[in-house]
């Protein structure tokens, strides 16, 4: 994952980041779907648990970045890792811990509001930077660096949308698990 300005963009050459085209969105949705099924396959079907699943995909993602392997492969790993990470958080505490047991609807509403607010805060801050320095927007740092923040918002929103699908599993502390 890149940090700082992309040298090639700075020099006016092509960025190493893909253009946002229709194919970008198609592959993005496919990757996110794979994040869901792949994450469930490793953590549930293989019964490895969320901690192991998170570690596996975190390592794959890091190796992919270090070795310069295709961005798509790294993105898939990040998304699957992210999926595991979220379920780990929902089940084992983290930000959701203090309000676990107060009911799925209220907990997810708070989580969704918090992450969405934070994500849009980042957009506003970077919006100022983009206006001040056009070059910042020419690389993919914002896209990649805050991927997890926006995944947070999207994932919370998804959980919120699916809270009524009928699957309520017993969670820790007598609460309801976020998995639906």
């Amino acid at each position: 994952m890149a940090n700082g300005l992309d040298e090639r963009s700075r020099d006016g050459e092509h960025s190493k980041f893909a253009a946002v085209t229709l194919s970008f969105w198609i592959i993005k949705i496919l990757c996110t779907t794979l994040g869901e099924t792949g994450g469930d396959a490793v953590t549930m079907s293989m019964n490895l648990g969320y901690a192991v699943g998170t570690s596996i995909f975190a390592v794959i993602s890091r190796c992919g970045d270090s070795a310069g392997i295709s961005q798509a492969i790294s993105s898939i790993s990040v998304l699957v890792h992210d999926h595991c990470h979220h379920d780990c958080r929902y089940h084992d505490g983290g930000p959701g811990g203090p309000i676990a047991g107060t009911g799925l609807r209220r907990r997810e509403f708070i989580a969704s509001g918090f992450t969405s607010g934070f994500a849009w805060g980042v957009v506003l801050v970077h919006g100022v930077n983009i206006r001040g320095d056009g070059r910042l927007a020419q690389n993919g740092d914002i896209l990649l660096g805050h991927d997890h923040v926006f995944s947070d918002a999207g994932h919370s929103a998804g959980r919120l949308g699916r809270r009524r699908c009928g699957s309520r599993l017993p969670g820790r502390r007598g609460g309801l698990s976020g998995h639906c």
Binding site: F17, A18, L30, C31, T37, A41, G140, F150, G158, C165
Partner: protein, 92 residues
């Protein structure tokens, strides 16, 4: 009230379509629309994943997680090979 994953998937897809329409026909900030779409792909992907592997009684297709993941990997590879990739030359 129970909502099937099929309906949830359509709802997420519809929200994404609204963003696409706003992009096409309005002058709303491209940054805001990009991130709105970026966020909305997440619930769409999540419910799409559920659509594959949830039981039929919950509106899913009851496809095994391994098979669904395999099909998705194949689709992604196919997209990468078939769609021409180009580097960005402007801000997103």
């Amino acid at each position: 009230m129970r909502v099937s994953v099929t309906w949830a998937a359509w709802r997420s897809f519809g929200a994404l379509l609204i963003v696409a329409v706003l992009y096409r026909f309005t002058k709303i900030s491209r940054t805001a629309l990009f991130w709105s779409a970026f966020i909305l792909t997440r619930p769409l992907g999540a419910v799409s994943g559920d659509l594959f592997d949830k039981p039929i009684s919950q509106g899913g297709m009851a496809v095994s997680r391994y098979a669904a993941s395999g099909v998705l990997v194949g689709a992604i590879v196919l997209c990468i090979l078939l769609f021409p990739q180009r580097a960005t030359q402007r801000s997103h």
